[in-house]
Symmetry: C2
Subunit: 321 residues, 2 copies
């Protein structure tokens, strides 16, 4: 029994259409020539909030009955999902409780506040986060919107696959970053129902290889470290998502940190897109095994563009000509 079907993804697409952007598929001729395949970037970095997370969050929020909606939604993500849920709830005009560790990055906190929502700060432990989220559920009756192990969220994320195959019918390969697996499960559900011959390949940091190990062992493995540059890919693969991956996934490619860094630079220089490290992981997979992709028509999901530029802010240190 699959957690979601193509029909769920199609329903999500209709539901969220007024609230998310149909992002472009960006071609890059010189990079395609260099890597000997036709590469196009699905630029979810340009999505509202700078990540695909707007899709799943809007689907979960706008699927609520008016009665459920009155009691609001809650999550305890510290990443792009938090800001996406804040935005979706604000658009519907309902309460939203976003639990974040008090040491979350100022950029992530600011992203939630940009939608007029004040995060509920807690200690930076899983227990503290879950306790604070449970409190909002019990006190207000708010619905928990999990960042990936939620059928409505998975279906929402899968809507980007409908756009990709509509924009590029000749596509034969899609590469998707994997963390909790919500995006990947949604994409697999849509593509394997409509175009089963299109290969769907997961890209995962070698330093966050729990999905690779889970697929090998057949059960949910947990990460052994949490320090990959790709901070959006540090979560463990989900209970609901793993069976979908196990059934449909064609391949998984592990990538090294240096390749993620190089791919991030390449996307900005060659495709002029700001990708966060997690969003550059699919290109890193192509750079890792170019022979695997030679001659193919490859769609790469740039999952987000919220790059903490740190000391290296674009436009700040021009080289004098």
């Amino acid at each position: 029994m699959e957690p979601i079907t193509l029909a769920d993804v199609r329903t999500a697409a209709t539901r969220i259409a007024p609230h998310v952007w149909r992002t472009p598929l960006v071609a890059c001729e010189p990079l395609s020539a260099a890597l000997r395949c036709d590469l196009r970037f699905k630029a979810e970095s340009l999505q509202h909030g700078g990540a695909f997370k707007a899709r799943g969050a809007c689907n979960a929020v706008f699927a609520l009955s008016d009665d459920e909606a009155l009691r609001g939604v809650v999550t305890h993500s510290s990443g792009n999902h938090a800001a996406a849920l804040a935005r979706a709830a604000t658009r519907r005009g309902i309460p939203v409780y976003v639990v974040m560790p008090h040491n979350a990055s100022p950029i992530k906190l600011a992203a939630v506040r940009a939608y007029g929502v004040e995060p509920i700060l807690c200690e930076p432990t899983s227990e503290a986060r879950e306790r604070a989220a449970l409190e909002a559920q019990e006190r207000y009756g708010a619905r928990l919107v999990h960042p990936y192990d939620d059928p409505l969220v998975m279906a929402g994320q899968g809507t980007l696959a409908l756009e990709v195959i509509d924009d590029w019918p000749e596509i034969d390969t899609v590469v998707v970053p994997v963390s909790g697996g919500g995006l990947l499960a949604g994409v697999l559900t849509a593509i394997k129902a409509i175009r089963p011959e299109v290969q769907v390949i997961a890209a995962e940091p070698a330093w966050a290889d729990d999905t690779a190990r889970s697929l090998a062992s057949g059960k949910n493995e947990v990460p052994t470290r949490y320090d990959t540059l790709a901070d959006g890919l540090r979560a463990a693969v989900g209970k609901l998502t793993l069976p979908v991956l196990t059934r449909w996934l064609d391949d998984l490619i592990l990538v090294e940190e240096e390749t993620i860094r190089a791919a991030t630079r390449t996307i900005s220089a060659e495709a002029r897109l700001v990708a966060e490290y997690s969003g550059a992981v699919p290109l890193a997979a192509v750079m890792t095994t170019p022979e695997r992709f030679a001659g193919r028509r490859v769609g790469l999901v740039v999952s987000g563009g919220n790059l903490d530029m740190g000391g290296c802010r674009l436009g700040e240190s021009p080289r004098s000509a």
Copy 2:
């Protein structure tokens, strides 16, 4: 007598459609909220070659008769136009002669070579460039494709305005960077013919204010310095373009260097687009006089994304969380 008409722009749009990309208009909700207007970026940074120049170059190249085309095209631009012409000529399979100073930036040289064209290097003076270009014209019968003072180039650049008003019928203001004025003249020709009530505003660096002075004096003034960060905007306004600007332009806003730098950073952080300094000048104009734009629906042309990141390469120096 206008150098081009709306019909020329429409003809160009049909001619170049197979060769250029219909770039997206990217919304940015938090930035719009902060600046109290509805801002959308026409992302020509995502165009093939990373700049709107692909449009004019393709229009000029594909308008040639087969007989003319055989003899090739020549230009002596050292900027985005050079690479755009190399790409257009390569697509048509005709000779192209690109004269560049031997001290041109390695990035600009590489952009031309990426399309399989070896630049003709010359001394870095205007005389040397023009002499080398004239030699190609005389020896091969190649047609000179000027970067802006050419009706086919102007009409090609104007095609982006057709896309903007088609994608966003409610738009009431367009802000365009000005250098030679080819893009601005093309945009004015299209918009003032179709939607004369839409305001078209030029944005120009205060350190390259020859267009502002030319509009004031009524004749072609020349730049007094060539050191604005916005290296794409250092050329003098053209002989053919100035009359179009004089007739139709609604306003011109001069911007300071620090504002250009801040706008470049803001576009990357808030809209996740890599803009070159020249491409950030329209946002700099809004940041300079926000009251001028309050409550309006403003399309900003991000003219290009070929930012020389110098010592500051995206993805290279992440701040340790």
